[in-house]
């Protein structure tokens, strides 16, 4: 895509990755973009680069506006390679001796990615860089979502360059949120669920800190997807809501199955939950990507997990899902396990062990059914669902 002017003297010069479908294990059905921003004032700054395969496009976009040699500063908000991968060719294009601004952890981490001895400038939290009429202020945002992550805030224009925070994996010719409308929110939600959920306590602290500093935003520019121009507080409010994890009146029933027995249980449990007026959402792990499942879990009050017992253990896809969910540290959730088994039936206890280590509220010791559910077993599934619905509604 060609560069776009987003405000006076400020250009979006990033690139679109239409074809990416797997972003380090996160399914990106709508592709993604790597945003970068050029600020032209008496001094010229480039904020972030792009994935290395797209370096030529980024440099061409810059050339459409100015000679890259005129860039005075490169600002690296985040070291992950989708934003730092093009540092070597970009530094060559702008001049290897130009100052490279980053956080203190950024300094350490960039040097762990690249051997070049660039002219690093590690900023203090709150440090400012005057570009002439415009001033950039740097705000450390450690672990949102890497130790090196920081925000750059353009004070006069009230524009926040927020790195990965508030991003969405979404490829499109739309530049701003109002051009996509409400349809952008599911992408923002999926991004939060998969990249930021585990740092929810830190996000809540940061939002308070922003309020204390009295920072106002006219626009929030993340490094992926559309820029939040229309009512940027909408995405901040959504982050606060998702971080609080209060949980809606909804239960997600995640399972895998071998001979449809655990599936039969899942559907009986789900329909019984739904009968009680609680949204129920059965998800067969093998038909859904783990990154979509955790997105469904994000705002659910209950996460119910079912696994057949295979070779005295968990079914492998269930282990995969539990490992992934555990890393994202969901909080304030009710949990319960179920599953069909042949002769030993360890799976339910193994799921409970995982729930325990995630500090979820285990509602019930779990429901084990041998082989194929009969009428009595089906009744047990319905009772199990009712108990879940009751707990979700309390």
């Amino acid at each position: 895509m060609r560069p776009t002017k987003i405000a006076e003297g400020i250009y979006s010069v990033g690139v679109i990755d239409w074809n990416i479908r797997d972003f380090h294990g996160y399914s990106t059905d709508r592709g993604s973009s790597y945003n970068a921003f050029l600020i032209i004032d008496e001094k010229i700054a480039l904020i972030d680069t792009v994935k290395k395969e797209f370096a030529d496009q980024l440099i061409k976009n810059i050339c459409d506006i100015i000679d890259p040699k005129k860039i005075d500063y490169l600002i690296s908000n985040h070291t992950e390679m989708d934003h730092s991968g093009s540092l070597p060719p970009v530094m060559r294009a702008i001049g290897e001796n130009k100052p490279l601004y980053c956080s203190k952890m950024g300094l350490k981490n960039i040097q762990r990615h690249f051997p070049q001895k660039w002219n690093f400038h590690a900023v203090e939290n709150g440090e400012e860089l005057c570009l002439g009429n415009k001033t950039l202020q740097f705000i450390e945002t450690k672990m949102l979502h890497w130790p090196d992550s920081m925000f750059s805030y353009l004070k006069e224009d009230k524009i926040l360059f927020s790195s990965d925070a508030f991003g969405q994996h979404y490829a499109g010719y739309e530049i701003f949120n109002d051009q996509v409308g409400e349809a952008i929110m599911p992408h923002a939600k999926k991004y939060f669920a998969n990249i930021l959920l585990l740092y929810a306590p830190r996000i809540l602290k940061l939002v308070d800190q922003i309020a204390e500093l009295g920072l106002k935003f006219e626009m929030i520019c993340p490094d992926h997807g559309v820029l939040w121009r229309n009512n940027p507080s909408e995405i901040i409010d959504a982050y606060v809501k998702w971080s609080r994890q209060e949980g809606e009146k909804k239960a997600v029933v995640v399972y895998d199955t071998m001979w449809h027995s655990t599936e039969t249980m899942a559907e009986a449990i789900s329909s019984s939950i739904a009968e009680e007026g609680v949204a129920a959402c059965p998800i067969n792990i093998r038909n859904s990507h783990r990154s979509d499942i955790v997105t469904a879990v994000l705002d659910a009050k209950a996460v119910i997990v079912g696994s057949p017992t295979l070779n005295n253990g968990l079914f492998p896809t269930v282990s995969d899902f539990l490992t992934y969910m555990k890393g994202l540290k969901p909080q304030n959730k009710i949990a319960a396990a179920f599953g069909s088994y042949g002769w030993s039936g360890e799976a339910v206890d193994l799921i409970n062990k995982e729930f325990e280590s995630m500090k979820l509220e285990i509602l019930d010791p779990g429901l084990k059914i041998q082989y194929v559910p009969d009428n009595e077993a089906m009744d047990a599934c319905f009772q199990f669902g009712k108990k879940i619905a009751k707990a979700v509604s309390r």
Binding site: M105, E140, K142, M143, P147, P201, R202
Partner: protein, 53 residues
Amino acid sequence: MDKYVCTLCGYVYDPAKGDPDNGIDPGTKFKDLPDDWQCPICGASKDDFEKQA
């Protein structure tokens, strides 16, 4: 001496090693760290740490 884990990033404070980059000598117990000491990896504060099991 007990080790403490940062609940945000997983860094382990080992009193035997201290945190020399930030002026904490080896042998400093977790409870004797200054109140404004921060996790050297992620900047979490002392109350974000838990004793390692």
